[in-house]
Subunit: 121 residues, 2 copies
DNA sequence: ACATTGTGCATACACGGAATACACAATTTT
DNA sequence: AAAATTGTGTATTCCGTGTATGCACAATGT
């Protein structure tokens, strides 16, 4: 459970958990079959509600990143390296589509976006 | 008043207004000195509350994009073309910093980001 | 004076996020 | 079999934000 919660963030806590853990899974930092901490324990450690953790785990399940078994726990799903890359790009692309529509609304060209990107990445 | 409001959007209405109008100003579609519609009239046209329009206009004022005069109206501020570009890039960069931190959390390199960008822009 | 425009405030409602608590189901441990 | 563990479901409550409505006030213009 190597996650950081920001109470001042505009993003809800359950989404922060979801994003950080899904990133860890897709970077291979959490091995396939790894058992996530029980939601009650995670809630205690993170000082948040059980429901909040539950929501995050639900999103992970819905994205196919973990398998949940009542009475046992939540386990990181099995992926081939190719699948991991595909899912990762899929998730990033989904986010990127919203981002680029913002850039486009300001009339930026692709080259301009890349130019700005080079400055800060 | 060429703006589109989405009630299903995750973004609040006042922010949709702010983003669209600021983009129009920075693209030069709204000339310097142009008088925005009175908030009551805008609220009627857009079928939203006066307060909602007010919030959007306040953000425009705070960003220095318009000048508000009680009893007269709200007027697009004066910009040199250079200033317009600078402010535009400033606003986009601010947004882009949040976007890239998301990409980075998934371990994407700059080249990977540019690669995905080329596909969808 | 009167109309127009922006400002400020009070009230109200809806919704989402979050917390707490309790009961139930499935599995594991003893 | 009994108890503990773990996930699920539900009910209740609280809070902040977004939004709407209405009214009163300030500044400007005719």
């Amino acid at each position: 459970m190597n996650v950081t919660i920001s109470n001042t963030s505009e993003k809800p806590i359950y989404q922060q958990l979801y994003e950080q853990i899904s990133a860890q899974i897709l970077k291979g930092e959490l091995e396939s079959g790894y058992c996530l901490p029980p939601i009650r324990q995670a809630a205690l450690e993170l000082h948040v509600s059980v429901i909040t953790v539950k929501k995050a785990w639900e999103e992970l399940e819905r994205s196919g990143l973990i398998n949940t078994v009542t009475g046992k726990g939540c386990f990181v799903a099995e992926f081939s390296p190719d699948e991991m890359l595909r899912i990762r790009n899929e998730m990033v692309l989904k986010q990127m589509e919203g981002d680029t529509s913002y850039y486009k609304s300001f009339g930026l060209t692709l080259d301009e976006v890349i130019g700005l990107l080079n400055k800060i990445y």
